[in-house]
């Protein structure tokens, strides 16, 4: 009896952990895009096939070892070996290969809507939106916004080392190489927020190199892009005004750009609309004042190897003013 209870407890502890992988913002099993839906269907079909095959093979083994021992004619055995060992797997693999190959051109189809370019940096994402006919991009970072029900074209490259771009809920992954441009296209179907992750080891903070992908209906996306093209909002409170002064006097603008101000650095992420993003430090922290203070005070403590120096010489007041300014950049 006691053993039963333990088994049940064990199962009840294990199951949520296993099932948690089936949903959520970063799961291939919860597809929200055309390509991911195809991949997940393929997975389920293959899993079902594998389960059927597993039972069939074990059933066969029980049959010849226990039920019908020594009664198979050599003709039958020959048919089983040739049919089950050569013809059947060849046809099954041939069909699976054909289905997958047939889908590849669609997955690699050129995007017709939004065009963007994503550059993998250590350890964050430089994002450029190129609206039709634009001569200069709308620059952003660490978050990707895509319109729903439209295939977006995404150019990919990297700064110093190889990274890989993957939003499991939307589609497959593509590597990003320094000095070379690769491409992919994604067609999200359901508005929502989906997590992406660098999937090629790129240094000590590789695991902290993530991003949110926000999928919006087309009209909301258009409005969002118009807002992104605007320069930064002026500080809306006294605290934010003091924060802006700290930002400029501390030299943050040498690395970061805040369009509409003197800050025009291009080394680090563009902060023009930082406060409008859903996460901070490439998917590592939530976009809150506390997190901003923590990040600015000592970025390396959050993200080992990050190039941003620690600003732990600033007072608590200065840090919270700075956070108020940054959070107000919507």
């Amino acid at each position: 009896m006691r053993r039963r209870t333990w088994q049940r407890r064990g199962a009840s502890l294990l199951l949520p952990g296993l099932l948690a992988g089936c949903s959520g913002v970063q799961s291939i099993l919860a597809p929200a895009g055309t390509d991911a839906a195809f991949l997940s269907n393929l997975f389920w079909v293959m899993l079902a096939g594998a389960v059927v095959l597993w039972f069939f093979m074990n059933g066969l083994m029980v049959y010849v070892w226990r039920v019908n021992v020594g009664h198979m004619s050599s003709r039958k055995a020959e048919a089983l070996i040739i049919g089950g060992g050569i013809v059947f797997p060849t046809v099954v693999i041939g069909v699976l290969l054909s289905v997958a190959l047939n889908a590849m051109p669609d997955m690699r189809a050129e995007g017709t809507g939004t065009r963007l370019k994503v550059t993998g940096e250590q350890w964050w994402w430089r994002v450029e939106y190129w609206p039709e006919g634009a001569e200069a991009p709308i620059v952003s970072a660490n978050e990707i916004v895509l319109p729903a029900n439209s295939r977006s074209e995404i150019g990919l490259t990297a700064d110093k080392v190889i990274h890989s771009f993957w939003v499991p809920a939307l589609g497959g992954k593509t590597d990003m190489f320094p000095g070379r441009e690769t491409r992919m296209s994604l067609e999200p179907l359901k508005p929502g927020t989906y997590r992406g992750q660098c999937t090629e080891f790129c240094g000590e903070s590789h695991a902290w190199m993530a991003f949110n992908t926000v999928v919006l209906p087309q009209d909301e996306y258009d409005a969002w892009l118009d807002a992104q093209a605007e320069p930064a909002a002026a500080p809306a409170s006294e605290s934010a005004e003091r924060g802006q002064a700290v930002f400029l006097s501390e030299g943050c603008g040498a690395c970061h750009a805040v369009r509409g101000t003197a800050a025009a650095g291009k080394v680090g992420p563009d902060l023009t609309h930082l406060g409008a993003r859903t996460s901070l430090a490439a998917g590592t922290l939530p976009m809150t004042q506390d997190a901003l203070v923590r990040w600015v005070r000592d970025a390396k403590a959050v993200k080992p190897g990050a190039e941003m120096p620690a600003y732990d010489h600033l007072t608590e007041d200065e840090l919270s003013d700075l956070a108020a300014y940054l959070e107000g950049l919507t």
């Binding site: 060849t90 190959l101 051109p105």
Partner: protein
Amino acid sequence: MSVFGIERSRSLWHLILAPTIWAIHFCVTYGMTAIWCERAPAASGDLRLWILIVTAVALAMILGVAWRAWRQWDYTDDYDYEHDGPTIEDRREFLGHAGFLLAVVSVIGVIYVALPAAFVGSCG
């Protein structure tokens, strides 16, 4: 020296010819695709035609090998799978049997290698 119409010194070839044709077909189609898509990506239609031709030639050659290996195995003579005796006939039939099976695998391999060209229409 000739045994049952097939020269003894040549019987070993049936074992390795089919996989060799498969390997060459693999290198030729992949190499051709890499060079073609780098130099003339627009003309991918011609490339597909060439892959079809190379594949047809490879399959014809492997089927030829398979036929000869099948005859060397001489299965329909005695319908036996056992050739582990220390005789010339057993050795010959074993090599033919193995060569025939390798030819079957090579046919499957060549078709799978060429399959992407049937579905993926362009170099992009």
